[in-house]
Structures are given as C-alpha cells and as structure tokens.
C-alpha cells in the first residue's frame, strides 16, 4: 500500500517577524528613525536657544572686521582684516607647526629607533630611557614645561643669549637674520628646479642602463653635484643676489631680522620630542619585523652591508612602518591644537577661541573647526595611503 506523501516543494516560510531580511529592514528603520528624531530634537532646541539669546546664524560673520591682532601671521593681517582672514591665519599657523613637528619628529624618531636597536648597550638603553620617559608623560604637561619652565626663564632682550652675533634668544623669541632677495634671485630657484628634474631623468636613465647592461652609474654623487652646482652657478652668474638683514638691539627690543615666537618654539619642540618617542617604537618594530634570514640571504648573494640595508631591509621595514607612522602624523596634527593652552595663535585659539567669544556663533565656528581637522586628517591619510600603496608588496 502506497502512502501518499506530499513533499513540500518550497521550504516552509518563516513568519514575517522571524525573517532575517524583514528583521534587518525593521531594525534599520528603527535606528534611522531614532537618529533622525534625536537630530531633529537637538536642532530644534538649538534653533530655539539661538533665537532666545539673539545670536545671529549663518556664515555672514566671516566678512565682519575682526578687530584683534595676532602675534604670528604668515599672510598679511591687521586688526581691520575680516574674521575670514583671521581663520586663514590660524589655519596656516596650525599647518606650519604641524609640518615643523612632523619633520623633526620623523628625523628624531628614526634616529632613536635605530639607536634602540644598537648593539651598544649604553646607546640602546639611553634610547629606551628617552622613549619610556617621554611617552608616559602627558603632552600638555611637556608643552607647559618647555614654555613656562624653560622659555619663560630665558633672559630679557638686553641680556640675550647670542650665537655668532646674528642669532639671539630672549624672552621675546628667537631672532635670526632675515634674507633679502635682490633683483635676479629668481634664477636660483629656477636652477634648483632644473637640477631636480635633471636628477630624476638621470636616475631613470641610470636604472634603465643598469637593467640593460648591468653597469652601474654613481647616481648619488652626480645628483649631489648637480643639485648644489646648478644653484651655485646661478648665484655666481647673478652676482650673489642675496643679503641678510641682521637683528639689532635698539632700546629694549630687537629690530630687523626674523623672529620665531617662543610659543612656536615650545610647541614644535614638545610635539616633535613627544611624537618621536612613538615613532622610535614604530621604527624599531618595523626593523625587527624583517627576519634576519633576509639579511643573511642578502650577504650570501654578495651584497655589502650598505646595499643590504638600502635594498633589502629598509624597503621591507617601511611596509610595516608606514601605516602606524601615518596615525602618528595624524595624532601630531591633532595634538597641535594644544597650542591654545600656551596662546600660540593656531586655528583653535584664534577661531574657536577669540572669534567664538566675539561673535557667539558656536555652532558655525565649532563645525568649521572640526571640518578643518577632518579635512587635514583625510589629506594626510590620503597621501600616506598613496605612499603605502607605492611601497606595498606587489602580489599576484
């Protein structure tokens, strides 16, 4: 006797509330609704509060006259300039200190990282002491230390520390001779650019020739010669069109020359020494990540220590180093906002501080400031990603 069994062709459908697809949809609608409601609530409150306090909104204030002065301006700025101009000054100051900080932190960090790996017991332990001390103390404290404890204790302009009678350090800042570009100076940068282009072409040609014939060309020394020689030649042709304006003590202060304000010195010093301690650890980790077998293999195919380092170890170490190095650069850039604590006129102090106090337009100003930092972060990480891709292992 055959029993008639009906085999369901399609699997049993779960009820709607148990279907993962509908669940996901429902959950997302819920989350989105919650976020939108929260946003609407906050915006509503903000509008009501702004109206009640009589604060204007919109970005019209950027055109208004600022009426305050700034101690360090890279572009022309006076009290009659607009808030928009003040914003630009602050932004440039932030970028200036970030670039200086990144430059010195990288150099110092690489030196200390390599020193940490030295076979010399004393050197490696000194590097370890530096790293452990600097990175375990808050950055703000280090900035205060350099600014209030060190740079506030340097002498007054009359008793400045001087070096070669052209550099002077006193409480007003670091004075140095300012270059004066005379007629015909333009040829020197042009010669330098031409030199750089020439070196790039030379390097490509030398590489192609080495791959074709195996013969090597002394690229380094030739490049050095071209890079120094061409501008020098240009300078001789034009009769050295550069002179220096030396700072001079007149009355109670120095006149002439260039001055680096003490806030910039303290901030750049603290940022680069602090970040260098992190970069040193990254460099050390990167170099130890390249296995010793690589070095041994390079020696066994006959490479000497110099080329081994340059062609085998460093390219592989860089791959490990670059991603964390990027985040250190980003940190340094963000940490430069601590400038506000010692009154270095960066974007936070000038814009989110003074301009905010004067106009009261908190929402616009804080949003612009945050947007600036986000943009700078994205720029740095885009650049480092490009560099990382160039360096990354090309796999199948």
């Amino acid at each position: 006797m055959a029993v008639e069994t009906k085999i369901a062709v399609a699997p049993a459908k779960p009820p709607v509330w148990n279907d993962p697809r509908y669940r996901a949809l429902f959950f997302q609608v819920l989350v989105l609704g919650g976020v939108v409601l929260l946003g609407a609530y906050l915006v509503g409150n903000t509008m009501a509060n702004l109206e009640r306090q009589g604060i204007a909104s919109g970005f019209g204030f950027l055109e208004t006259t600022a009426g305050f002065s700034i101690s360090q301006t890279l572009v022309e700025y006076s009290e009659e300039s607009s808030y928009g101009r003040a914003f630009l000054v602050g932004l440039l100051n932030t970028m200036l200190v970030s670039i200086i900080g990144i430059f010195f932190a990288t150099i110092l960090g690489f030196i200390i990282g390599v020193a940490r790996l030295s076979r010399n017991w004393l050197i490696s332990n000194l590097a370890a002491v530096y790293i452990e001390i600097l990175r375990n103390i808050p950055l703000l404290l280090q900035i205060f230390f350099w600014y209030f404890a060190v740079l506030r204790n340097v002498p007054s302009p009359k008793n400045s520390h001087s070096m070669f009678d052209s550099f002077f350090l006193n409480i007003r800042g670091l004075y140095s001779p300012a270059p004066i570009f005379e007629a015909g100076f333009w040829l020197i940068p042009v010669a330098l650019v031409a030199g750089v282009i020439g070196v790039v072409i030379l390097a490509r040609w030398a590489r192609a020739r080495q791959e074709r014939t195996g013969e090597r060309f002394p690229v380094f020394w030739t490049s050095l010669g071209v890079l120094i020689g061409l501008p020098l030649l240009a300078a001789i042709v034009m009769g050295f069109p550069l002179s220096w304006n030396y700072p001079e003590l007149k009355g109670f202060n120095f006149v002439g020359g260039m001055v680096v304000i003490p806030e910039l010195v303290a901030l750049a010093l603290a940022l680069s020494t602090y970040t260098a301690s992190f970069i040193a650890e990254i460099v050390r980790a990167g170099i130890t990540a390249v296995s010793h077998g690589q070095t041994e293999a390079a020696y066994s195919v006959g490479l000497r220590p110099g080329p081994t380092l340059r062609l085998v170890v460093i390219p592989q170490a860089l791959r490990v180093i670059i991603p964390p190095l990027t985040s250190q650069y980003l940190n340094l850039m963000k940490n430069s906002s601590l400038a506000a604590a010692i009154a270095y006129p960066d974007i936070v102090l000038v814009f989110a501080g003074t301009v905010l106090m004067q106009t009261g337009q908190a929402v616009e100003i804080i949003s612009i400031t945050m947007a600036v930092y986000l943009t700078l972060s994205l720029l740095i990480s885009a650049f480092m990603n490009w560099y990382n891709k160039k360096m990354a292992l090309v796999e199948r």
């Binding site: 409150n45 903000t46 702004l50 010399n120 703000l140 936070v348």
Partner: protein, 369 residues
C-alpha cells in the same frame, strides 16, 4: 697530523678556559661598548651626555633640595624646593574638596584597591562577581560618596573637585563608559545592515578625525545650546560626555581589530548551532575578541589617562590644572619646574605601570603557536 694534536689521548684533553677578553666584565664591556671604532666613539659621546645630564639633576633634585618648612623662605633656591609640593599637596591630590569630607574620597580609593586586588590573584574564584561589582556597584557607591546629598552625606559641588582625584574620576568614567559603547559601535561597523554600518562609520570617523580639544570645546559651548531651555548640565558632566564619546570611538576601532581577528569558522559554527546574533557575539565571538585586544584596550586607557589633562583648557582643575593654579599664587611664584616635575612623576608612574602590565598580559595571553 702534527705532534701537538697527538700528545693527548682522545677525551683526555684538558679543558682550557676561554680567552680572558671574551668573558666576565672585560668581555661584556668589549662586546657591548667597544666592539668597533664607531662603537667607541658612540660610547664616549653617550657617557659625556650622561655626565652632562645626570649629576646636575641629582644635585638639584636631592642634594641641594629643601624638604622641610612651610613657607617659601625655607627654600634656599639652590636646588629644588619640595616644600612647595608639601604645602600644596592636599590641593594637588583633592582640589578644593572640603577637609572634613576627604575621608569619603579616601574610602572610595581603599574600596577600589581592595576590590581590585583579588582580580590579580591567579585562581581566585569569584572574579566575575568582583568584575560585575566594579563595573556596576562601585560606580554607584562612588557617585554617592563623592557627590553626597544622600544618606546624610553633605553635598559637595563639582567645582570643588580637583587635583589627582578629578583626573582619576574623569579617566575611570571615560574608561568604564567607553568600553560598552565602543563594543556596540564596533559591532555596528561590522554589521551587514548598510544603514547601521554607515551611521557607526560616520560616528567613529568623525570623533577620530578631530582633536579632543575641539570635542571639549564643543561639549562646553554647544552642549548648552542642544538642551531645551532651563536644562543645565554641570561643567564636569559636559566634559565627561565629551571624553566618553571621544574615547568610545577609539575603543570601537580597537575592538573591531579583535573582531576581525576571529576566524570566520567561529561565526559560522555559532550560527550552525542556531545561536541568535547576541548569543553568538556574547558567548562565542566577544570573549575571544576582547581577550585578543586587551593590550590595545590598555593602551587606549593610557592615552585617555594622559588626555584627561586637556580638561584644564575648559576650566576644570585636574592634577595638572591644580599645579598651574598653584604656580600663579603670588606667594609661590617661580616654582614651575618643581610643580611640573612632581606632576610628571605622578603621571609617569601610572602610565608606565599600566604599559608594563599590558606587556605582561600580552605575554600571558599569548596562547598561539
């Protein structure tokens, strides 16, 4: 074969000591300090550097220093004036918290240490319960102890809080609150639901892309605007919210690293057993993922602990803020270095021990091959 090698029977050659220049102190020094001419130069340079730095610092901090007294006249000004720290010690530790109420802070400290000690004893049995107490019970007790206004305790306003006490409050609140928020954000970022994922990504990247200062500025000037009329938050609460959101974003990225390191088979196995999403995460994935990233979490804690100093910019007097305040006191001008050295030493001890502990954990938890 020469005669010399033959003059011993096999196995009867006397053991010669290694050359004197390769063992003992001499050997160590030759190998580690003077191996090559470059090494010699570096060693001499480093020794000179040490000579330049260390003796004057010791002279200043210990030998010439003044330890006893109550006024600035007790300081000879030749070395460090630790009298300054002594006089301001209470403020540096507790801020302006009223004297007769200090026992409340101390009780909370003692309770915290007493509860935390068993966690470090291997094989202690009720670790989970102590963890639950520390995460849920302790904050409630501490809140009532610090704020007061209940159980017959006097109310102490937050503007009186300060010093190391305030630093610890901000750091611990930030740490305890950022972990759960960070876990939720990390799960959201790994979610397959596009809306949830994009909201989490936007939130995390926004906070990670801006400096903490702007977050604190935002929480101090924009927060009052967000609230309906009449609702006013304490300055400390506003700072805490800023710190919490900021560190949660960093924590989320650390946890995400752990989630990514768990092999896909674990997720699939959990799903095959019919576990729901939260059971899969809570029972299978998170315990493994969090264990993997404990060193990363500790590093985030260290960063957060150092970052708490930034609250002085919005007018809260934490450990560093108190030293800045003391430095502006007209009776005690000119002792900035002593103040900074003391605070730096305080922070250093905390951060260094945390980082050593994280390294120790990393070794202990390293169960791989």
């Amino acid at each position: 074969m020469t005669d010399e090698t033959r003059s011993y029977d096999p196995g009867s050659h006397p053991d010669l000591p290694p050359p004197a220049s390769t063992v003992g102190v001499v050997g160590w020094v030759r190998q580690n300090l003077f191996a090559t001419p470059l090494d010699v130069a570096l060693t001499v340079l480093a020794l000179y550097l040490v000579y330049l730095l260390v003796p004057p610092v010791i002279q200043w901090a210990f030998i010439d220093a003044d330890w006893v007294g109550d006024t600035r006249d007790a300081c000879s000004r030749e070395g460090a004036c630790w009298v300054y720290i002594r006089v301001w010690f209470k403020q540096l530790m507790y801020g302006r918290y009223p004297d007769e109420e200090l026992w409340r802070i101390n009780t909370a400290y003692v309770l915290l240490v007493a509860a935390a000690i068993p966690l470090f004893i291997p094989g202690f049995r009720w670790k989970q319960w102590i963890g639950v107490f520390l995460l849920i019970g302790y904050p409630i007790i501490a809140f009532f102890l610090f704020v007061g206004d209940a159980f017959g305790l006097e109310h102490v306003e937050t503007p009186l809080w300060g010093g190391l006490f305030l630093t610890l409050v901000i750091a611990l609140v930030g740490i305890v609150a950022s972990l759960p928020i960070g876990v939720v954000l990390a799960l959201g970022r790994r979610s397959k639901m596009p809306v949830v994922r994009s909201i989490c990504v936007a939130f995390i990247e926004l906070w990670r892309g801006v400096p903490l200062i702007t977050v604190l500025f935002m929480s101090s000037v924009m927060f009052p605007l967000f609230m309906p009329e009449g609702v006013n938050f304490d300055k400390l609460v506003r700072a805490l919210v800023g710190v919490m959101l900021f560190s949660a974003a960093y924590m989320a990225e650390v946890v995400r690293g752990g989630l990514q390191a768990i092999p896909k088979g674990q997720y699939e196995a959990a799903e095959a057993l019919g576990l729901s999403f939260w059971k899969m995460m809570g029972l299978i994935v998170l315990p493994q993922a969090l264990k993997l990233v404990i060193p990363g979490i500790v590093n985030t804690f260290i960063g957060l602990f150092k970052d708490t100093t930034l609250v002085l910019i919005i007018g809260l007097f934490d450990f560093l803020g108190m030293v800045q305040l003391a430095g502006t006191n007209p009776d005690w001008l000119g002792f900035a270095v002593e103040g900074y050295v003391f605070v730096a030493a305080g922070f250093w001890v905390f951060c260094f021990s945390m980082s050593r502990y994280s390294q120790h954990l990393e070794k202990k938890l390293h169960t791989g091959h």
